[in-house]
């Protein structure tokens, strides 16, 4: 203020003009700022309301099915076989996926030096992560179902899901191994432990929270996958589905949902309304699984962290 006054004495009119201009510019800038932030807020509100309303809509639509006893039965309008298959395929896939991708992550973090091999592995992982799941489904069909002779079966499906989720699991496990401080490794090696013993007794226990979170996140992807299973695990169940036989074809919650509303619409022996109720129920249960897994991954990761760092 005092500056302005002193300048005003020297050249009152030109300065007044300049001051007015400056105020106008400031006003415009602040107006721009407010408009831009307003637009960003509107965008954020639209997108998050879209997401929230989708979740709420799915659960409300699915509620009638979720609270009926038939829904959990083995009838045409029940999902007991699909529930069983979904968890069966989840466990079978994780049996392959967890050790293999953890071993690959250990190699990349603990053993490999920077060089062409690491670059190639990372490039392959990134490329594989970008391959559409339907294309991987065809690959799984040609390799596991036809070439290895597993035909269209749970085993072929699980191996295809291994290929599909390998890159993501690798990235998650690499990140959790990387977060283990170097001092721990050096301390263990200095005590004369071999590298493998060091990894077993020091690195893996301290990376445990991250590994568990990674496991749960890949579980979510396995439960939600459908396109890769169309031609590797099929859309239909054999007569007796509740067995542990990995060589039978079977459907999952997602492929059943696709069949109900896609190619099988009208030929499932259900009325259109029953089909819709069933589909809404399956969609709701999938969303609930996903919510539980995501919140569970956060909660469990935090809990393990506290447990392990407190000890």
């Amino acid at each position: 203020m005092s500056m302005q006054q002193s300048v005003q004495v020297e050249a009152p009119q030109a300065d007044e003009e300049r001051a007015r201009q400056r105020i106008a510019v400031m006003r415009r800038l602040h107006m721009d700022n407010r408009i831009a932030l307003g637009v960003l807020w509107v965008i954020t509100a639209i997108v998050s309301l879209l997401f929230i309303s989708i979740i709420i809509y799915l659960i409300i639509q699915g509620a009638p099915a979720l609270f009926s006893a038939n829904f959990y039965g083995t009838g045409q309008d029940g999902i007991a076989p699909e529930l069983f298959n979904t968890f069966y395929i989840l466990i079978l896939t994780e049996i392959f996926l967890f050790p293999i991708s953890l071993a690959a992550a250990i190699f990349l973090i603990e053993y490999a030096r920077r060089g062409p091999l690491v670059t190639i592995i990372h490039f392959a992982a990134e490329t594989l992560a970008g391959v559409p799941s339907i294309v991987l489904g065809l690959f799984g069909f040609a390799v596991f179902a036809v070439y290895f002779g597993f035909s269209i079966s749970r085993l072929a499906g699980a191996l295809t899901l291994l290929c599909l989720n390998f890159p993501q699991a690798l990235r998650l496990f690499e990140a959790s191994l990387e977060s283990v401080p170097h001092e721990l490794r050096e301390g263990s090696l200095a005590l004369g432990a071999t590298k493998w013993r060091m990894i077993r007794t020091v690195v893996l226990p301290s990376a445990m929270p991250g590994l568990v979170t990674g496991l749960i996140l890949t579980a979510g992807k396995i439960i939600g996958e459908a396109a890769a299973l169309l031609f590797t695990m099929g859309l239909f169940n054999p007569g007796n589905v509740f067995t542990l036989n990995p060589l039978i074809a079977s459907d999952t919650l997602t492929t059943r949902l696709y069949y109900l509303k896609g190619p099988g619409a009208g030929s499932t022996g259900l009325t259109f309304n029953q089909e819709t109720v069933l589909a809404a129920g399956i969609a709701a249960i999938l969303i609930l699984f996903l919510l539980v897994l995501n919140l569970g991954a956060r909660g469990l990761g935090r809990l393990l962290e506290r447990r392990l760092t407190a000890a």
Partner: protein, 307 residues
Amino acid sequence: MQRARVSDQVARIVFIVCAVLIVLIMVGVFYVIGSQAFTVFSATSPQAFFFGNFWDPTGAGDPSGNSNPSFGARGLIIGSVVITLLAVIIAAPLAIGLALLFTEAAPRWLTRILQPLIEIFTGIPSVVVGVLGLIILVPFLQKVSAPLTGNSAVGGFGWGAATIVLVVMILPTVISVSIDALRAVPTSVREASLALGSTTWQTMKNAVIPAAAPGLGTAVVLGMARAIGETLAVALVLGGSQAPSKIFAWQSLFGPNVNITQQIAQDFGETLGTARAAYWTLAFLLLIISFICICISRYITSRSVYR
């Protein structure tokens, strides 16, 4: 001591084998799909494949009744490209806008809500989104487009519904990659801009966005890769078996239509021989397109300053 060293060596070999396995899978995918991609050209010429309009590999729909197959994939390819581009054009500004607010100006309570919401939606099964589109979106679009399609009973299916479904599917991916890109910009860049007297918006526009531009580009390209390969969500709302004869018309948006992934999902299982070979060619095309997208995103990332 001896035993420890042996087990150390064994562990090391196991780890290397597992890490190399991912390279083998990748090479295997290209080999298996590539090796079957070209057999279709013994039955048809590449020109007829890429520029023909009638897709009927089994010959069941041959108008002359002779069951002569035709392999015109032009409609499918255009379908995939159009809905992918439309979806990216709609999703990119929304996603980047949300990511900007999230990293630069959001209050704590908002980030606490958004973070888990984005994570949950990243994993939403595509078939769930497709069924949702089929139940809500298609009837709605049918009503909206009634004057355009002449109140057709199958109106509402088509590129329009597929685009909206794709937007929902790729938004979370683009948002989370954009957020990572914006977070990688060091605070000092923002502080320098603010210290010069910039408003928040000036800081975003002139400092943060240029610094994060390669990362934001990667986000869009990855969204594109995801969109072109998206299958079941799109398959359920496209609802066609043949591209419409006038493909670049408004009716294409609101009438049954086709794309590459939908045709593979619907018909691959029911074909044999040369007809099946045509679907391998389509799959190889998808593989190449997504590979190009990944290469572009890698190139952009390699040129960015902040990672």
